[in-house]
C-alpha cells in the first residue's frame, strides 16, 4: 500500500495545483498514521472525525506552509493540534499531561535506599512478542495500560514505538521540548512494561 511517495519538493506544488494523483498518494501514505495519532490523543470514538477535520485544515493551510519541517511532520502537527483542541472541548477535566507524579516516582518502590533492586524483576515466560501476545489476558492488560496513559504519553509511544517516527519529529508534532518528549516516552514505556510485569507476578 505504501508505494514510494515523491519528495516534498515534487509533491507540494502538485497538491497546490489540486492534482488528484498527488492527493491520493499523500492520503494513502499519511491517513493511517493520522488516525493512529488522533486515536492516541482523543480516543477511538472520534479519531476518524478528527483525522478528517485535520485533512480539511491541511488543505486550507497548505498555501501558507513555510516548509520549516517535512510535509509529514507538518501534517501530523495539524492532527495533534486538532486533537488537542477537540479534547479540551470534550472534557475540560482531562489533562493532556501526566498527573501521576514525576518520572522518578514510577519505579521508586522497586529500589532500596542504595538504589538496588528491592525485589528482583520477575522472569517473563515468553521468548518473543508473539508468545507474549498469544495470551488474551496479557493483551487485555496491555490495552488497559495503554488507555491509562495520559494523551501525550500515548501519542509519544504511538508515534515512536508503534509508527516508528524519530524523536525529533515527534517533539515537533506534539510541540514539546526534546527533553519533555523523552520523558513522555520513558514514562509510557515503563507503564506498559509495569503492566506486563504485574501480569507475570500473579
Amino acid at each position: 500500500m505504501n508505494q514510494q511517495l515523491p519528495s516534498d519538493n515534487e509533491l507540494i506544488p502538485r497538491l497546490l495545483a489540486h492534482d488528484e494523483t498527488a492527493y491520493t498518494q499523500v492520503v494513502s501514505a499519511y491517513h493511517g498514521l493520522m488516525v493512529h495519532l488522533a486515536r492516541a490523543i482523543v480516543g477511538p470514538a472520534i479519531a476518524d472525525e478528527v483525522a478528517q477535520a485535520a485533512w480539511l485544515a491541511v488543505i486550507r493551510a497548505l498555501p501558507r506552509f513555510e516548509r520549516r519541517s517535512s510535509l509529514k511532520t507538518w501534517v501530523l502537527r495539524i492532527v495533534s493540534n486538532t486533537a488537542k483542541t477537540r479534547l479540551r472541548h470534550e472534557s475540560r477535566t482531562v489533562s493532556l499531561e501526566d498527573t501521576q507524579g514525576d518520572q522518578t516516582s514510577i519505579n521508586a518502590g522497586q529500589f532500596n535506599a542504595s538504589g538496588r533492586w528491592a525485589s528482583p524483576p520477575t522472569v517473563w515466560h515468553a521468548d518473543t512478542p508473539d508468545d507474549l501476545l498469544a495470551s488474551q489476558e496479557l493483551r487485555a492488560c496491555i490495552d488497559t495500560a495503554l488507555r491509562a496513559l495520559s494523551p501525550l504519553q500515548r501519542a509519544a509511544l504511538t508515534l515512536r514505538d508503534m509508527q516508528g517516527l524519530d524523536m525529533e519529529s515527534i517533539c515537533k508534532v506534539l510541540e514539546v521540548s526534546e527533553s519533555n518528549g523523552r520523558v513522555l516516552l520513558h514514562r509510557a514505556r515503563h507503564r506498559i512494561h509495569a503492566a506486563i510485569e504485574e501480569f507475570y507476578q500473579q
Binding site: L56, R116, W117, P120, P129, L133, D161
Partner: protein, 90 residues
C-alpha cells in the same frame, strides 16, 4: 569521575539506552553495570521486549485503512470545489 550507575539509574536510563541516545560515556557505564547485574540485564531485556511487542500490535492493526482513503479524497475534492479561491499553481 562518576561512579557506576545504580540499578535505579539504569532503570531511568533504559529507555534512552534502547534508543541509543546515551552519551558514549553513559553508554559504557550502562553496559558495564549490565555485565555485572543480572537483574538489570533482565529489566532492560524486558523493556526492549515491551517496545517490540508494541510494534507487533501496531503491525497487526494496519489492515483496515483502504476504504477510508477514498472517503478522504472525496472530502478533499468537495472542499476544494467549495473554496476555489485557494487554487494554487501560479
Amino acid at each position: 569521575m562518576k561512579m557506576m550507575p545504580s540499578c535505579r539509574e539504569i532503570s531511568e536510563q533504559a529507555s534512552d539506552y534502547l534508543d541509543q541516545d546515551l552519551s558514549p560515556w553513559q553508554r559504557a557505564a550502562f553496559r558495564m553495570h549490565l555485565l555485572m547485574c543480572v537483574y538489570c540485564r533482565r529489566h532492560v531485556k524486558h523493556l526492549g521486549f515491551t517496545v517490540a511487542t508494541l510494534g507487533k500490535i501496531a503491525s497487526e492493526e494496519k489492515a483496515r485503512e483502504n476504504d477510508d482513503i477514498q472517503q478522504i479524497i472525496a472530502l478533499i475534492k468537495r472542499q476544494q470545489k467549495e473554496s476555489p479561491e485557494q487554487k494554487g499553481g501560479d
